[in-house]
Symmetry: C2
Subunit: 101 residues, 2 copies
DNA sequence: TAGTCAAATCGTACATTTGCGATAAACTAA
DNA sequence: TTAGTTTATCGCAAATGTACGATTTGACTA
């Protein structure tokens, strides 16, 4: 993407929506978020039991969601409890609702 | 993606949300949709004037949005008028609002 | 200190996305 | 028919995404 058009000046909102949308743009991640919402929280290992994917792959998807700010991890040694990042979740909701008005 | 895990059974809704989200997952496409919404409709050429991207690149983004069902094209020779696909747009809105509840 | 467990990260392979310029296709108008 | 206009598609290159198994890391516990 860093080629001739190095930096288009998108608005902050545009970038924010695209960032959230990108994170939501894979069925596995939608599934993870649904699961997370139902359980309110969960461990990586729970997902490994639920999804037919390698542990490393699931970890990668969790990273993607965490980087986008949609979830957060809390240390519960030796596990990590993942939950929805409510603040950013609400922000995403607001952005989408406003955008899709 | 077609490797060992050939087909995970995602629900229809999950696939639908991910599909829409993926299409929304690029700032250029968000910009196009915003523009489209403001003008209610537009031609490919209009966007070429607005965005610092090659015509072929913009055409590609439009295709992506069309394939996702978010916009539709109407032949107005020698141009093509693109508009929001209102029905699918509403569907997307419903899916996102429900998902982000 | 050594061992254990859960999760992250590394290295790799392949697929998909994003971008461009060049070209083709569809239509009008002369 | 020919030329012009507009948009789509092709072919390519680079970047990014998705998946795996193997390994490392971090936080305990014995």
């Amino acid at each position: 993407m860093k080629r001739t058009v190095e930096n288009i000046n998108y608005s902050k909102e545009t970038i924010a929506i695209a960032r959230f949308a990108k994170a939501l743009g894979h069925p596995t991640r939608i599934t993870i978020l649904n699961y997370l919402d139902n359980q309110s929280c969960c461990f990586t290992g729970d997902l490994v039991g639920v999804l037919p994917l390698a542990q490393s792959t699931i970890s990668q998807h969790l990273k993607e969601l965490k980087d986008a700010g949609l979830i957060q991890g809390e240390l519960k040694p030796p596990k990590i409890k993942y939950c929805i990042h409510q603040e950013n979740w609400n922000k995403a909701k607001e952005l989408f609702v406003n955008f899709l008005k």
